[in-house]
Symmetry: C2
Subunit: 362 residues, 2 copies
Amino acid sequence: MIRVLLAILGLWLSCIYGAAMAETRIPAERLLEFSKTVLAAAGADQDSTEATSYALLHASLHGVDTHGFRLLPFYADCLRTGLVKGAPQIRVNLQRRAAVVVDADGGFGHLPSYRAMDEACALARDCGIGMACVINSTHFGAAGAYALAAANAGFIGFVTCNSGAFVIPHGGIRPMHGTSPIALAAPRPDGNPFLLDMATSSFAWNRVLRFRSEGRTLPDGVAIDAEGRFTRDPHAARALAPLGGIDFGFKGAALAGLADVLGGALTGMRLSIEQDGLALGDTKLGHFVMAIDPTTFIAQAMFGERMATYLDSFAGEPATMPAGGPEWIARRDRESNGIPVPDGVRGELEELARSCGTSLPV
Amino acid sequence: MIRVLLAILGLWLSCIYGAAMAETRIPAERLLEFSKTVLAAAGADQDSTEATSYALLHASLHGVDTHGFRLLPFYADCLRTGLVKGAPQIRVNLQRRAAVVVDADGGFGHLPSYRAMDEACALARDCGIGMACVINSTHFGAAGAYALAAANAGFIGFVTCNSGAFVIPHGGIRPMHGTSPIALAAPRPDGNPFLLDMATSSFAWNRVLRFRSEGRTLPDGVAIDAEGRFTRDPHAARALAPLGGIDFGFKGAALAGLADVLGGALTGMRLSIEQDGLALGDTKLGHFVMAIDPTTFIAQAMFGERMATYLDSFAGEPATMPAGGPEWIARRDRESNGIPVPDGVRGELEELARSCGTSLPV
C-alpha cells in the first residue's frame, strides 16, 4: 500500500517537474543577478529589469520552469527587436472606488502586474476587494507570482489572463483558447499559503516537446494530431486539449473562456483567437488581477485558523498535498541546491551572456 | 467527418443531459407554481418560496437536473423537520465600501444568494466590483442561477461555494473536497451570455447512480472503489475524483480548494471536510458572490463587441459551443416541450403533492 502511494507521489512529482535530464544547478541569487545584468544590457530600465527578474525567479524557484530563467534569451530578443519597450511609462488610473487600470505601455507584463496587485491590495484594504486591469501589456510569466505577492501581504490574490490560441475547444479540432492560466493564493499564519496556479489545458506545449525528446508516450486526452484526433504520440501532436480531456474537456474549455472574458473582453485587449498561439511575443495583451482583504468578513485569527485547518488536513492523507504543495517542495530543494538548468538551456544562456559581455554564473 | 462530429456532439449532450429514460414532460410554469404551493404548504414564507422556486426553475430549464425541481421533496423535508428555517430574518450588513455580508439566518440558500448578487451588483455600479459573503446558509442549488442573474443585469457575475466532502484529493483515497461548484457569467448584447457553471469533480454522484441504474460503464478516472482504486464499475464506486482524472486531478482538486478558501475560510463557515458528503442537509454554510461592472474599464459597446466576437467564434468550429451553449439548447427545448420528469421523480413529487393537499400538474 505504502509503495503504491509512493509510486503515485513519484509519478505526480515527475509529471510536474519532468524526468531528470542532463543539467547543472546554479544558485538562485546568482541567476537573479545574471537576469538583471542581461536585461539591463538588452535595454530594460531598472524597474522593468527588477520586476521581470523577480517574476522569473518566482517561477524558477517554485518549479514552474516553463516561465523561469529559460525565458531570458527570448526576453532579451524582445527588447533588442523593439517588440517590447525597455523603458515603458507605466500609468495607473483609478476608474472607480475599487478599480484601477494599469497601462503597461508596451513593456514587459511583470512590472505592471506586480504594480496592479499592489494597487488591488491597497483598494481591498479600503473597500474589502480591489481589482486592476493591466492593458497594453505583453508576456507576464507565471500568474502565480502576482497571486502569491498578494498572499504574502495578507490578501487573497486572484490573477488570470488569456494567451495565444493553441488549445482546442471541447469537441473541436481548431485551437481557440490559450493555455490561459488561473491563479489564486490565500495566506495562512506561520506557514506556506494556498497557491493554485494552473494552465486551463492539461499539458503545456513545452511538456509535449519534452516528451518528444525523451521518447515518452503522452497521457490520454492531452493533445490532438493534424487530423484532430486525440493522440498519445508527442511527434504527431499538433495542438493541446483542454483540462478534462476526452470526456470532460468542456470544463477546461469553460475555464479558458473565463480567462478570455476577464483577461480579454473586460480589458478590451486581444482574445486568445486574436493572438499568435505559437510564439510568446504578442502585444496588446490584458491581465486581470484582484485582491480580497479577508478581515473584511472575519477576524484575522479566525481566517488563519480556517486556512490552517484546510491546509493541514492534507497531512493526514498520505500522498496528497494542497494546491501549492509541489511548489514549496521545489522551492526548498532549489533554495538549497540551486536552480536546475538543463544543458540545452545552459547553452542558450551562455550565448546570451556572451552577447551581453558577461558570463553565466556557476 | 461530419458523422464523427455529430457523434461527438451527441456523446457530449448525452453526457450532460443523460440518456433518455421513462419520463413525462411538464410545462415549466406549472412546475414553478407547484413548487410555490408545496414550499408554502411546508412552511416557507413568501420570499423564500419565490426565490427557491425560481432557483429550481433555473436549474430545471437549463438542464441542471440534479439541482432542479427533483429537489422539492428534500426541501419540503428540510422545512418540516426544522433543519431549514421557513421564515428566516435575512440581514444585510455593509462591511466595507465594496463588500456586504448577507446573513441567511438558517433559511434556504437561494433567497440570500439572489439578494447577495443584487447587493454585489449595486456595489459594482459604484465601486467597479462588489462582493458578498452569505453566512449561516444551507443548500443554494445551482451556482449558475446567481451568476446568470448578474449577467442579465449587465454585470459579470462570479459565484462559488464548497460542499460536503465526497471527492478525493489528487493521489488520495479519502474524500476531502466537495463537488464544490464554480460559476461565472458575462453578458453579451442581443444574445445568450457566457455561462460557466461547473462542479470541480468530473462527475456528480447523481450521475454515478444513473450509470448504475442504466448498467453503463463509467468513464476513466471519475470514481474510486472502497480500496481507493480508480474504477469504471458504477456499483463499486464509493467516492468521486476531481476534474482532471487520473493524471491531472491536482488541477480539479486545486479548484475545489479555491471553493473552500472563498466559500469556507473567507465566510468563516464550514469547510468541505466539516460537512456531510452524503446528504445535502448541512447548515452553517457559506457562499461567495461577486459582480464586476464591465463599463468600469471599457465602453459598453466595446465590451459587447468583445463578448460577441468570443462567443460567435464557436459557430465557425463544428461540434463546439461556448460555455453555456448546452444550457441554451436545453432551455429552448424545455420552454417549448416542458421539463422532463423521470418516472421515479414523478412518483416522489406526486407523494409530496398529496402530503400538501395538492396535485402534480400535467
